[in-house]
Amino acid sequence: MAPHPDDTAPATTDTPSTLHDLEELAQEVEEEAEHRPPPAGPASNLVIAALVVALGAAAAVGALALGAGTARTPGPGIWPLILGVLLVVLGLGLAATARRTADTEQFSRSSWLVLAGLATMLVFVALIGTIGFEIPSALLAFVWLRFLGGESWRTSALVSIGVVVAFYLVFVAALSVPIPHLF
């Protein structure tokens, strides 16, 4: 298990004056301001590298199907082909440096919050066409406030209703934006 980057960072009691030291110090401040989950291991770095290689390969195959043409008469596939090959090379580079990469984050328990947030947005987009934006919006706001934000039932209910009323007044009543609405 790699130690937290802070452990290895030089102790900087006084501010340095070279640009390089400053950059490091600036990074420390940023890391301190954001409490992030610990870095993921080499295995996830390899998965990422593999995804990049796969994307590049898929692009290259698709590009060849489109027809690359020749250098004199470039076809529609030539540019995607170049990019695909480049991505494969870069992906291999990522794989080679997977051991030394420390900027990938682990998924933590709170990553489920993100998945839940995504689910509310998918519900929103599935419903908006048929029943208008009001109910899906209120639902989304309520779930985010109560379950993702840990607000009280009372605050969540009041804010989500208030937001929908405000949106209705701004988008439908004032600006008459053609957004699907129920009322």
């Binding site: 934000g149 840990g150 009280s152 009372r154």
Partner: protein
């Protein structure tokens, strides 16, 4: 055993601290001051600023009371957090300050004090600020 004070930087919190200090002296126990803001926002008016913390510490020192101050933010209801801490340190008494609320305000915001009084399974000392101080 320890005396637990729910503290906010207001006259009510001040009154609770003074009463808690007296109680700790009387019982010859330590004093735990819980000054926990609602977590999430980067800034909260409920947090005691450093100068105030220093003055509270020196007042407790002058009285020879061991003071512990907790300022970690909480999620959910303040009353629940206070009761949870009271259980975890097995407080001998909870000291809180009462503030005046209009009936409408109470309906909308609820009352932490009421919940603490009703739900606590140990003595609760509820104090009001001196009318001259407020």
């Amino acid at each position: 055993m320890t005396v637990l004070v729910g503290f906010v930087p207001t006259p009510e919190g001040e009154a609770a601290f003074t009463a808690g200090l007296a109680e700790a002296r009387r019982r010859q126990e330590g004093l735990l001051v819980l000054n926990t803001p609602r977590g999430g926002a980067p800034v909260s008016a409920d947090v005691a600023p450093p100068e105030l913390v220093r003055s509270l510490t020196s007042r407790a020192e002058a009285d020879g009371i061991a003071l512990e101050l907790r300022q970690t933010p909480h999620t959910g209801d303040l009353a629940d957090e206070l009761l949870r801490v009271a259980d975890s340190v097995n407080a001998s008494v909870i000291v809180i300050g009462l503030r005046r609320r209009s009936p409408v305000g109470k309906l909308l915001m609820g009352s932490s004090a009421q919940r603490i009084l009703l739900d606590a399974d140990r003595p609760v000392l509820a104090v009001k600020p001196q009318p001259t101080a407020g």
